[in-house]
Subunit: 413 residues, 2 copies
């Protein structure tokens, strides 16, 4: 039974993770929050105390940590006796934090793929470039590493596995749809780190279709979805982490990811991209200063966590799964709807952070209980989905199913 959680990162998602760990600290034990800027960790600690989120009295502490520094991370894991590390820091630190976990035996979790700040990772499957190269060593050392266990990737991978297990004999297509129908009231803002957000859309769009990787450009393939609660929304085929693992684990089914974008977002994005302002490659100003344009765009945009207090509306994220059951073609939509305002009231973050931050806590609870303490590296679709969805159902992210039989909650015995 692993216990004591070290949260790495201090943004909007870390805030959610901390609150949810606190609400379940009877299962999880002590909570430690570490990031480069210790003040941001302290603010999260204060928020957890203010909202009285701690279920029982455990240690709750803020730490300064450069998570690129493997030895410092190992030392902190040991000092805090953390059995579980939830990495919700920048996507650039994944491999360093994973290394520290492998060396100390702590369980590792993240919510997004590792990225090299200098490149937009181009070769599919993306996990093959970094994470999966450590799979063998994790197995040898008996270290549990659950990759991409936010909402998407994460819960949507569990939805795909649930569909495969319970609704189909053979899955032929998984279309993951992520719609944020909320409004933050700003001219323009990204819902999480702009640097990571834009990097998702500046590269090639990979999808897995007809048994091979297909490439498109961003905003090339659009589709109107009519979804529960949020209604009609325009979504575009986008490159996304989970396409890269599901392509391997869904027995050859097509896997595509669709993200909702308004015309205004697309216009701003297009202007910035065409001007070269989303580039991760440094440029030199007339005065000789070397600077990465994307980092300047990040600096002028609103801090995503500042959006939370005024965020209105809902998100709808889920999987349209097609395939065969008893020789018949069928389609199922497995989804969750989250509300920005509810999220802010409960944990002080908006809905996007909420959907990303609650799932790793559910996963931590399953590691603590032993059910998901698999002592190897896995993507979420390799794990039994029901225990995970069951906890999510109870701690804030209920699953619903819509198919020919209607629209209903997923039930647990």
């Amino acid at each position: 039974m692993k216990k004591n959680v070290l949260i790495i990162g201090a943004g909007g998602v870390a805030q959610v993770v901390a609150h949810k760990c606190a609400q379940n600290c009877d299962v999880l034990g002590d909570i430690h929050i570490a990031s480069r800027t210790v003040e941001k960790c302290r603010a999260i600690v204060d928020s957890v105390r203010e909202k009285k989120s701690l279920k029982t009295e455990v240690t709750l502490e803020a730490h300064a940590l450069d998570a690129m520094d493997v030895e410092a991370t190992k030392a902190l894991i040991e000092k805090t006796r953390a059995g579980i590390v939830i990495n919700v820091g920048s996507a650039f630190v994944n491999m360093s934090v994973l290394r520290a976990c492998m060396d100390t035996g702590a369980a590792y979790m993240d919510t997004a793929i590792h990225e090299d700040p200098k490149k937009i990772c181009e070769t599919p499957p993306w996990y093959g470039n970094y994470e999966w190269k450590r799979a063998q060593e994790c197995k040898e050392r008996g270290v549990t590493a659950i990759l991409g266990v936010g909402f998407d990737p994460g819960v949507v991978n569990a939805y795909a596995r649930l569909a495969k297990d319970e609704y189909f004999d053979k899955v032929t297509a998984v279309d993951i749809v992520d719609i944020n129908a909320g409004s933050h009231g700003k001219y323009f803002a990204t819902n999480f780190d702009p640097e990571i957000n834009f990097r998702e859309f500046t590269g090639v769009v990979y999808s897995w279709q007809n048994g091979q990787w297909q490439t498109n450009s961003m905003f090339e393939v659009g589709k109107e979805y009519d979804l529960p609660v949020v209604g009609k929304c325009k979504a575009y085929m986008t490159g996304h982490d989970e396409v890269h693992s599901l392509a391997k684990h869904m027995d050859g089914a097509d896997v595509r990811f669709w993200m909702g974008f308004g015309d205004h977002y697309i216009n701003v994005f297009t202007v910035l991209k065409n001007l070269g302002l989303l580039s991760e490659q440094p440029v030199k100003t007339a005065e000789g200063l070397e600077v990465v344009p994307l980092k300047v765009v990040k600096a002028v945009l609103p801090d995503p966590s500042s959006l939370a207090p005024n965020y209105q509306g809902k998100t709808c994220i889920g999987d349209f799964v097609k395939g065969l059951k008893d020789g018949q073609e069928r389609e199922v939509f497995i989804y969750n709807v989250a509300d920005h305002k509810d999220a802010f009231e409960e944990v002080g973050s908006q809905g996007i952070s909420y959907t990303a931050g609650v799932p790793p806590v559910a996963a931590a609870m399953l590691i603590a209980s032993g059910e998901w303490d698999v002592k190897q590296m896995v993507n979420v679709e390799e794990l039994p989905p029901r225990p995970f969805l069951d906890i999510l159902n109870r701690i804030g992210l209920p699953t619903r199913i819509k198919d020919a039989d209607g629209d209903r909650a997923l039930t647990f015995s």
Copy 2:
């Protein structure tokens, strides 16, 4: 009789100035080009030699100079025995270069108002914030300083004066219209230094109407003009240097400036401005680097001088002047049409640089001849316009008149 010209700056306008000085070096004497980056000056020298622009054999030299350094500028003026300084460097160096001219007795010229890099100059009349504070001292020292003698400001000021002298008993309104109907074939680019270009449009739009300053915001007031050669164009009321001097010198007439903008330019500008990327105030990146967003935008945009080889189409810039003549209301449009391709073939720069760079050379010729060597600080509308327009007519920027009597060339006896 002043002689020998020192050109400060090495951009597209400096290139035009150098070529035109060379074509008239029998009147102007030696030509020196100075800028921070001596290589850029050398490239201009090479271009002048390649195109065999030198009318007679004179000294033609490149120099490295930080024009913010008054003592270094004075030393260069003395070393080169320059009687005339044409400042077409950054608008941030005007006051330093003017100081060097006042101390050495050289005649001073520029083509744009002085700017403090840290602020968007807000209080009208703009010349009153810097240049005009030196007017008394120029007079006492007998130093000739001609402010804003490019096309606009510059030639359009002479057009206003010509209208006042020859076409009206009383001028009631001057509407200056600047349309670039050319195309550079890039996604987006500015025609001169992006930093200066954008700074023109991020502040308050000042116009002089009904005997007082009126304020509007950029793109608030638009108007469709139907102009000779370039046809129908949408123009917007814009803040511009010459409004600030003409408001003082046109006996209370309304003075407005209108610049043509396509929808695409406006969209890109609006996105950049609303995001804060056109700000001249530094921001700090997540890594702690202090950087001025506008300087990064400048760094990613095409170098304006790189546009020249593929620039197609024409510019039309002129003054719609309204007023009374013999008790009757009348309107005159005094204008010039320039061609981007012709400009490139003649001097290796596009049309916008051409229209800005030819006029200061005409003014230099009038200082050399004594006609404009007025031994005080003036704006162009304070000088007799005909000698200036006569030279421009001969060296590449002919003036045309359109009114109830038709569309014709301005004639000189």
